[in-house]
């Protein structure tokens, strides 16, 4: 069998060729006697093979197979759908979810925590009044404080932004610059979440009224919202006198007319009064002592300025410990967040002292120049300014900053 067609005879016998190819092969086989004989034998064998009997599988083996299949299918069969309540209750996703929630809560708490000292200071200065649960939004039993000449109008911390808030360019002159940079001007002091929450709970919006806005309350510290840092820097003694006059007549110096004339909402809580403690001084430092005029000028510690007061006290504590970098940072934070706070003049002088000790003479000079605009700190600021000017004009070796101070400033 040497014919090339013989390799395809099997396909021809078992009909695995296309009809056209099969017909061509059959014609070719007819012309080739060996192939014709081979095809005949193969077809004969196939006819015999078709008689090959097929025996059935024994029933026992079949039942065994089916039993195994039933068992496997039952284990693979989807369970009956449970009600949603039961599915949620039996869900194995709860423990991981609970752990994730706890971890997230821990992270949030850890992030919102201030440094320990700051937190302790804030906790000490800002006691949270205890109240029964469920009265967070209800007005207290205390009657609304009457606004008299002796009782200054209530000063509230700014509420969350609301629809009543004016556009930033109308409330603050620094707003356009911030808007130009694509940022939202910050009008309310940046508080930690815990402080903000406690502040909100302590100063709830009266029922039936929308939450008060910075405009209605006269700015973050009760002053005019337009009283910015720049204005304070440009404030002249005459304007200071006008401000003090207004404060004497209306309570807070920079309260807007709207805030003055607006009666306290019914049910509003009496503001929390801050404890007045003398500032911590460090021996040997040249921080100006509070003068009598300053004592007079310093307003009664605004009851609703716990954060500003806390920042000031914190900065003073750092300064008393000699940690001038931290102190300067807190002073700057105070100036940035509460530019119209009554303690700003003194904070300027004290921050300038910190800057001078850190070798940041130029910044100290700027701060002192601002402090000279306040009557209470004018004398001290001028004296310090002369000293800083002397240092600035001195040779470089005199102004060399101690290594420790430089390291602290870098830190």
């Amino acid at each position: 069998m040497t014919c090339a067609h013989q390799d395809r005879l099997v396909e021809l016998v078992y009909d695995e060729l296309e009809p056209q190819a099969a017909a061509e092969l059959r014609r070719a086989v007819q012309d080739c006697p060996p192939c014709r004989d081979a095809l005949a034998r193969l077809e004969e064998a196939k006819c015999l093979a078709d008689v090959l009997p097929l025996e059935p599988l024994p029933s026992t083996a079949r039942e065994t197979i089916l039993a195994a299949a039933r068992e496997t299918a039952a284990s693979r069969r989807a369970p009956e759908p449970l009600p949603l309540r039961l599915r949620l209750a039996r869900s194995r996703a709860w423990p991981p979810l609970a752990m994730a929630a706890v971890a997230l809560l821990a992270v949030v708490v850890g992030v919102s925590y201030s440094p320990k000292e700051e937190a302790d200071e804030l906790a000490r200065l800002v006691p949270v009044p205890r109240r029964p649960r469920g009265e967070a939004s209800a007005p207290p039993e205390a009657p609304a404080p009457r606004r008299t000449e002796e009782s200054p109008p209530e000063v509230r911390l700014p509420e969350r932004p609301s629809a009543e808030r004016k556009p930033p360019d109308e409330t603050s002159p620094v707003a356009p610059a911030a808007s130009a940079q694509g940022r939202r001007p910050r009008e309310e002091p940046r508080l930690s979440r815990r402080t903000r929450a406690s502040t909100r709970s302590r100063h709830p919006a009266p029922p039936g009224e929308p939450p008060e806005t910075a405009t209605a309350t006269g700015g973050p510290l009760g002053g005019s919202p337009s009283a910015t840092r720049q204005e304070l820097a440009d404030e002249t003694p005459a304007s200071t006198l006008r401000r003090q006059t207004a404060r004497a007549s209306g309570g807070l110096g920079m309260a807007s007319p709207a805030a003055v004339t607006r009666p306290a909402p019914p049910g509003a809580r009496r503001p929390h009064l801050l404890p007045t403690e003398p500032p911590v001084r460090v021996e040997g430092t040249e921080a100006p002592a509070p003068t009598a005029a300053e004592a007079v000028e310093a307003p009664q510690a605004p009851a609703s300025l716990p954060v500003a007061e806390a920042l000031l006290r914190l900065a003073r504590n750092y300064r008393a410990r000699g940690e001038c970098a931290l102190a300067a940072r807190h002073y700057a934070d105070l100036r940035r967040r509460f530019p119209s706070a009554p303690a700003i003049p003194q904070a300027l002088v004290e921050e300038a002292d910190c800057r001078r000790r850190l070798g940041q003479l130029t910044q100290a000079q700027v701060l002192l120049r601002q402090a000279t605009g306040y009557r209470s700190t004018e004398a001290v600021a001028r004296r310090e300014l002369r000293r800083v000017d002397t240092l600035l004009s001195a040779p470089q070796r005199v102004r060399r900053v101690p290594a420790a101070a430089a390291a602290e400033a870098a830190h």
Partner: protein, 214 residues
């Protein structure tokens, strides 16, 4: 879409167009026992006869057939659908058959294909074994033909026999047979041709009877 419980094995099978083997296996993987029953009905007889002609023992063939389908049940998840289900099934059966043959060799069983005694030209043992069929005097020619064909098939060399059985009994194309046995398609065709020629030689006595068959 509401979930439906797959029917239990033995429940009535609705008449539908014949689903493909792969579809039945997919349904079985989802817990449908009826799908597996359909698969078993399609392949139990070819597999059993394939193994029966390979091992030449009904009990062993039944055990091996049972093992084949139990492996399908256990390893249904491993079937990826890259090949046809029949190819996969016959690969399992062939491997089991080969393993069984190796065990028999290890236990020094006498091969049924081995010549009897030391004579090289003597007939193999399979030709001398007494059949379980009724006596030849009462057999019809057709019955004798079936017995002789079975013996002739069992006497084929293993490589030719498996190709012959896959093609003749299962009707598997040569290309699929090549996948099962792991040999080139042309080799498979050659083995098939040799097997047919052997059968034709072994059953030459029935040449006259072929006219009645055809």
């Amino acid at each position: 879409m509401p979930l439906t419980t797959p029917p239990e094995c033995g429940e009535s099978v609705t008449t539908r167009p014949e689903p493909a083997d792969e579809e039945l296996l997919r349904r079985f993987k989802g817990g449908d026992c009826q799908a597996f029953e359909l698969l078993l009905g399609r392949y139990e007889t070819p597999i059993y006869n394939f193994l029966l002609r390979s091992v030449r023992d009904r009990d062993v063939a039944a055990d091996l057939t049972q093992e084949v389908f139990l492996r399908v049940v256990r390893r249904a998840e491993q079937f990826q659908g890259n090949s046809k289900f029949s190819t996969w099934l016959y690969t399992i059966a062939r491997n089991l058959s080969i393993d069984h043959g190796r065990k028999m060799v290890f236990r020094r069983h006498r091969s049924l294909d081995a010549p009897v005694g030391s004579e090289t030209g003597s007939a193999p043992l399979v030709d001398r074994l007494a059949g379980t069929e009724p006596g030849s005097d009462r057999k019809t020619i057709a019955q004798r033909l079936q017995v002789d064909i079975a013996r002739a098939v069992e006497a084929l060399p293993p490589d030719q026999r498996e190709v012959f059985l896959l093609r003749q009994v299962q009707g598997m194309p040569f290309k699929a047979i090549a996948e099962v046995v792991g040999a080139p398609e042309n080799t498979v065709k050659s083995r098939m041709r040799y097997a047919l020629e052997r059968l034709q030689e072994a059953l030459g006595d029935y040449r006259d009877y072929l006219g009645e068959l055809t």
